[in-house]
């Protein structure tokens, strides 16, 4: 698998990571090396197998549909860099 700079920019965009132009080449070569490691997967004989997403076959526990936690909105809003009137603040979205 080979990557070009446009592909790296696309992945960074999907991941919402700002990357500078001078990082592009080193990131490209790093990622390409890691992706080569994955070539090994193609050699495994897995055609007959179902994917395993979770280590144990278990049924998720169900709980009663009742409120189990107090209102912590004030505590949680206090963690934000900027909040106002019970809301998180972000840069203006609509001009």
């Amino acid at each position: 698998m080979s990557l070009d700079h446009a592909a790296v920019r696309h992945i960074a965009r999907l991941a919402r990571l700002a990357i500078a132009d001078d990082q592009l080449e080193s990131l490209r070569s790093d990622l390409e090396r890691v992706l080569h490691l994955f070539d090994d997967l193609a050699a495994a004989n897995v055609n007959h197998l179902a994917p395993l997403a979770h280590p144990h076959d278990q049924t998720l526990a169900l709980r009663d549909d009742i409120v189990s936690e107090d209102d912590r909105s004030a505590q949680l809003l206090a963690l934000a860099a900027t909040a106002q009137g019970g809301y998180f603040l972000v840069p203006k979205v609509i001009e």
Partner: protein, 485 residues
């Protein structure tokens, strides 16, 4: 002072020959003395002394206390601690003060154990050397020019240096076992689901597992019994009532079949590391166990599968760090999109960004089937390898890591060389099994070697008993670095 067990410290406390406050002061003083190791991101002296005083008061009042009451320890800085900064080794969470405690933190506090601070770690637990920490690399107490391993490197160094008798850790691909091996201590990774992940900052949710770093298997058992058990706040937590491992450590090993996995001795395993592990296995044989040569034919696919699945899950888990609700927020963002991408670029270090990009790629349109789905199929292949092997043996053994601790800086510029260090540990996480690393002597370079034992799911009692019997017959786990108090 020779290493002392949790049981013996507990007995001293019960007899009131030493107080929890004295032990806490001693641990804090040792941490200050060993500051060059950089094993702690923060010490919480006042909170620790307050907790110790309250245990001492309860004891003076005749309260019935648990075995860990008054024992100082340290938490890996991945566990949320209410009112105490929790950084996960990242600039992203430099100022994050959680409003709640992790399950493991609650349980150990309920048991009366006294946390003296938060230990250093690879950023977001992504690393095998502790070098990716935003708070600087930690050093190995056996040789300060070497890494302590990672990602729970600070916890391993703090225990090995005699600062605390035990520390918490997490193990997503070997992050408890490999640092335990590098630092000459015992590291337990329980079965996936045995210990609640509530409040444990997520890296790869289907692999993440809370664990214990301590001097001995017996000490790991005491701590496991305190932190294990069902917790409704973690949907993957497993209900297994009534299982106590500390009480099950006196079983003879006669009849125990240990599968020696030949793949774990191949490839890049240092010859002297393999020798020491074989010697430890012969000790287990002398204890009554039978050694059986076995194969895990798909073991060589584990690194590739792991380094697709873990970054894929990480890219999803770490999407929450957006600069809005908590964590680092870029000051210069002009739009919402810039707020996300600049906050993340400024807050995350290079290795975390690399894994997010790899994971994003593996999950992206056009590549999902070839990478993520295929890696999940390989994961099943690896789990089936273990299941087949466990039909004929009770435990599986091999070296924990292929080498002894490498030099600080030796692999930090080469991600693939670093990933290769996880070759013998990642498969265990893919299959969700419990495993332990126990000291197995010293390689020719004088550095510790670890023996890894792996058990079927939920067979921690069998695993810890075998490790304990080995430690009853040998003194490798009692060796400490020069200058250790």
């Amino acid at each position: 002072m020779n290493p002392v067990s949790i049981a013996s410290i507990s007995a001293e406390l019960a007899a009131q020959r030493v107080s929890a406050l004295e032990l806490t002061d001693q641990a804090l003083a040792r941490a200050e003395h060993a500051a060059a190791l950089n094993s702690f991101i923060r010490l919480d002296a006042d909170a620790a002394r307050g907790a110790a005083r309250s245990i001492d008061a309860m004891r003076a009042n005749g309260s019935d206390l648990q075995p860990l009451a008054g024992i100082p320890f340290a938490h890996k800085d991945i566990f949320c601690t209410r009112g105490i900064a929790t950084t996960c080794g990242s600039r992203m969470l430099q100022n994050f003060v959680p409003p709640y405690d992790a399950h493991v933190v609650e349980r150990l506090a309920q048991a009366g154990a006294v946390s003296i601070g938060k230990t250093n770690m690879d950023e977001f637990a992504m690393g095998s050397s502790n070098e990716s920490s935003a708070y600087g690399a930690a050093a190995n107490p056996w040789d300060h020019t070497r890494v302590p391993g990672g990602s729970s490197g600070g916890s391993a160094a703090a225990v090995a240096a005699g600062i605390v008798p035990f520390a918490t850790g997490t193990d997503t691909g070997g992050s408890v076992r490999q640092p335990a091996a590098f630092c000459g201590i015992t590291g337990l990774k329980p079965t996936y689901g045995r210990v609640s992940r509530y409040g444990m900052i997520a890296y790869a949710s289907s692999l993440d597992c809370a664990g214990v770093l301590a001097r001995s298997a017996a000490d790991c058992a005491v701590v496991l019994d305190a932190i294990a058990g069902f917790d409704a706040r973690d949907a993957t937590s497993v209900e297994r009532p009534g299982e106590r491992t500390a009480a099950a450590l006196s079983q003879p090993l006669a009849g125990l079949r240990i599968g020696v996995a030949r793949e774990y001795f191949s490839g890049g395993v240092q010859a002297d590391v393999a020798d020491r592990v074989h010697a430890a296995l012969r000790e287990l044989q002398r204890c009554g166990a039978t050694l059986v040569d076995i194969g895990l034919p798909n073991a060589h696919h584990a690194i590739a599968a792991y380094y697709v699945i873990a970054p894929a899950e990480a890219s999803s888990n770490l999407a929450r760090y957006d600069g809005v609700r908590y964590g680092h927020r870029a000051a210069q963002a002009r739009s919402l999109d810039e707020l996300y991408s600049l906050s993340r670029a400024e807050g995350f270090g290079a290795e975390v960004q690399r894994r997010i990009l790899v994971g994003t790629y593996a999950l992206s349109a056009g590549y999902y089937d070839a990478y993520y789905l295929r890696a999940q199929k390989v994961r099943r292949l690896i789990a089936e390898d273990f299941a087949t092997a466990f039909a004929g043996v009770d435990l599986i053994a091999g070296p924990t890591a292929p080498t002894t601790a490498f030099r600080i800086g030796e692999k930090s510029g080469d991600a693939l060389a670093m990933y290769a260090a996880d070759v013998n540990t990642v498969a265990v996480n893919l299959a969700g099994l419990p495993a332990i690393s126990v000291p197995a002597g010293f390689a020719d370079d004088g550095l510790p070697v670890g023996l890894q034992l792996i058990a079927p799911a939920f067979a921690e009692a069998r695993l810890l008993n075998a490790a304990h019997q080995l430690q009853q017959a040998t003194d490798w786990h009692l060796q400490v670095p020069a200058g250790t108090p």
